[in-house]
Amino acid sequence: MLSYKTIVKDFKKNKLIYLMILPVVVYLILFCYKPMYGIIIAFQRFRPGLGIEGSPWIGLDNFVRFFKDINFWRVVRNTFTISFLNILFTFPAPILLALLLNEVQCSWFKRTVQTITYLPHFIAMVVVCGLIHQFCQSDGLINDIVAFFGGERANLLIQTKMFYPIYIISGIWKEIGWSSIIYLATLAGIDQEQYEAAKIDGASRLQQMRYITFPGLMPTISMLLILKMGQVLNIGMEKILLLYTELTYDVADVISTYVYRKGLLDADYSYSTAIGLFNSIVNIVFLVSANKISKKLGQSGLF
């Protein structure tokens, strides 16, 4: 089968197809696979002057150093905490929104709510975090409201106890509408006859929600939940980088932001790469297990 001849024949026959995919392959090699080769500096004491070939090998020292790092538990704990809070609060919010929108019969009202709630998805993270910054200052909007109800003014962003609420609420604000689209699409596919039948049997609207709409959403919910579970250690760093300060490192510093600070601010290239690699491997383990579980439960897996 795998003879030289077949390969040459194949290339000749499908010249154009190979030529068409060539830019993609070249691109992937230069910008995805070449950096993957660069991961080996995680096992070296890399110095840019010496290059990958010239830098001394130190085995797993960088990984050992990470496990002994005084910040190890802090970044791992914060990463898990933020993921957990996301699953607890950010994840169910769009489901609730979809369920509520599904009950609305007035179509212009429904459209208006949808248009408004989809919009923040497209607003730049820099703008969102800039607004959070403005609103959380001691003379900002949120403090105006707090003061109106007789509370004390304070800069919220420098308080450790306020970081998670700010992070989660702004996350819901930005994505609730956009994430609800997939649920609304699922709801549109629910057989309307079920509702008719339920009505004839005298089911109230709440009962219809409970016994028809919600079960109809369940496959989508469990698929997306499993997906989320697979990314527990994969917290985007952009928002945290824009929001945290040294005062809130204790609760806000996650693995990816630590990789950023070590690697690009302290130029500790090898160490940062090692942490990043550790994170990627754990991510893949989570993703593969989540996929396995998904298949066990009879859901279609990701791959």
């Binding site: 992937l28 607003i123 689209i181 309307q192 790469t273 791959f303």
Partner: protein, 293 residues
């Protein structure tokens, strides 16, 4: 879609009231921050500071916009952002369409599976921050616009959207074209692409918004501040307290706040403008993306 009941029970009315109030609260809470920025950008600094809740512009003026448009660094950065779009979008679309077409094509090709795996693998694993950074330095594109355009130029997620849309086109169309002697390139341009204009619109939107809103890569790959895109200048202004007003002139500190808001509006308006045209395609694009790749 459900038929409206002729007579509503009291229970239903209460339910409706609750549902509508929650949704109205949500819509207002989502909309107000955006409205606040719009109003503040047209108000004077003293008015913004004096108000508990901004509802309507006070001491209406467009001075903040006039000053912001005179700000040399900010204007330059807008130019840079547009440049990234102009160079980046064609590259994104070409790579995405080619990858999508290859994955969707039914022609028997010997290296097909390995190449598809090669594409999909990058979804689950990547070099990570530092290796990518060193790679950009290695390739000699550090501190150039190419560092903003090339890394991440192909989103495999988008290629999957493209592939799914292509698979939905009936194969008989390809077949008759092949029988007429058309090459794959011709099939792609003459048959496939014209049939998937909505998908192309969605892809343009995704890539365009991603470029327009990106700041992180520029923050690590661009050292020269005159080459930075708009989001990075905005970040310096909003989050690192470098004042826009100072660099325009000494007498404009009163407008510092309003100028920040004006800059936000200017940077967000292009997105809000394309948004209505593409909204109708959202549901479709999202659904395709959600289906397993």
């Amino acid at each position: 879609m459900r038929k409206r009941k002729k007579r509503k029970s009291i229970e239903d009315c209460i339910l409706d009231v609750i549902i509508y109030s929650i949704l109205i609260f949500l819509a207002v809470a989502t909309f107000y921050p955006m409205w606040y920025v719009l109003v503040a950008s047209f108000s004077s600094g003293s008015y913004i500071a004096s108000q508990e809740l901004l509802i309507w512009p006070g001491e209406f003026n467009v001075e903040a916009y006039r000053l912001t448009f005179q700000h040399p660094l900010l204007m330059r950065s807008f130019g840079n952002s547009l440049m990234v779009l102009a160079i980046g979008l064609p590259i994104n679309i070409v790579l995405t369409v080619l990858a999508g077409y290859f994955m969707a094509s039914t022609t028997k090709v010997y290296w097909k599976k390995p190449i598809i795996y090669m594409i999909l693998f990058t979804m689950f694993f990547n070099g990570g921050l530092v290796p990518n950074y060193l790679n950009v330095r290695d390739l000699g594109i550090y501190n150039t616009i190419w560092a903003l355009v090339l890394p991440g130029a192909l989103s495999v997620y988008n290629a999957n959207i493209c592939k799914t849309a292509m698979e939905a086109i009936p194969y008989s169309l390809h077949e008759s074209a092949y029988l007429d002697g058309a090459s794959d390139l011709k099939v792609l341009f003459k048959i496939v692409l014209p049939l998937m204009k909505p998908t192309m619109a969605v892809l343009l939107l995704y890539y365009g918004v991603a470029h327009w809103n990106a700041w992180f890569n520029a923050s690590i790959y661009i050292r020269d501040k005159w080459k930075l895109p708009a989001q990075n200048i905005l970040r310096a202004v909003l989050l690192e307290n470098s004042s826009l007003a100072e660099s325009v002139g000494d007498n404009y500190n009163a407008y510092a706040d309003a100028m920040q808001y004006a800059a936000i509006i200017i940077i967000t308006v292009p997105i809000v403008c394309v948004y209505p045209f593409l909204q109708k395609h959202f549901a479709k694009g999202v659904m395709i993306g959600a289906v397993k790749g």
